[in-house]
Amino acid sequence: MKITNKKNSDPIAEARNNKHFKRYSNEANVRIRFANAVYNARLERQMSQQELAKKSGTTQKRISNIENAEIDLGMGSIYRIAQVLCFDSKTLADIFDCDFICYSIVCGETANSQIEESLTTKLVY
């Protein structure tokens, strides 16, 4: 019979040896960065969790879970929250640890209309 001394074992150090640990760890890091970005952007805009939930078509409890980095989100949810909080390309690139994400893909019409507006202004003047 195998006897282990649980009192002296280091569960996290042992879990690190598991082949799945790194993948879960990387996913957790993305959730943490997204949670931080949502929390900071929401406070910056002086929005409550309830308001953000309403604008992004979800519930306050879900926003709370997102800010606690506790749930994996689908693309639709990420898209809606990023739109409401107007995440720029740098914020999204930082969250997903990417070099670059095109702003116009993420914020669609808003970005395009802003670009068009600035071009029109330049042309007029």
Binding site: S9, H20, Y24, S25, E67, E70
Partner: protein, 134 residues
């Protein structure tokens, strides 16, 4: 900051290690849970010594902070830590129901916080009471 587990000389073990050992099953679900807690701890060790909401929160009336994590079956895991001289000291951990209002549970949590404050005081008196976080 360097991450360490508080080691209690009377109990002769680290309370956080002891708590987390229940997830040392090797199951994929528990590996994900430990990876999540580990990521949060490492994230906080790269910040300043203040609580860093939403990942960690201060506790009213106590000089340590809590890291939260949801357990699959409507339980919330809490890891309590504090920062001192460039060290992030993991003091204690426990879990509680997701949604509670009973006085009994509130009293139990207050008791855990009081024990954690004793751990913190013991550590401050003897700063060699720790084990490295690997």
């Amino acid at each position: 900051m360097k991450i360490v587990y508080y080691h209690d000389p009377d109990l002769k073990f680290c309370p956080v290690k002891q708590y987390l050992s229940q997830f040392n099953t090797g199951s994929v679900k528990d590996i994900a849970l430990l990876a999540d807690i580990d990521s949060k701890i490492i994230f906080l060790s790269n910040q300043d010594s203040h609580p860093h909401p939403p990942i960690s929160k201060s506790l009213h009336g106590y000089a340590f902070f809590e890291i939260g994590r949801r357990k699959p079956i409507k339980r919330l895991i809490r890891v309590l830590y504090f920062c001192n001289n460039g060290m992030l000291v993991l003091l204690n951990a426990f879990d509680k129901p997701d949604d509670y209002s009973s006085q009994k549970i509130k009293k139990n949590i207050a008791k855990i916080f009081d024990i954690t404050e004793i751990y913190r005081q013991k550590y401050l008196k003897n700063k060699s009471l720790y084990e490295n976080y690997k």
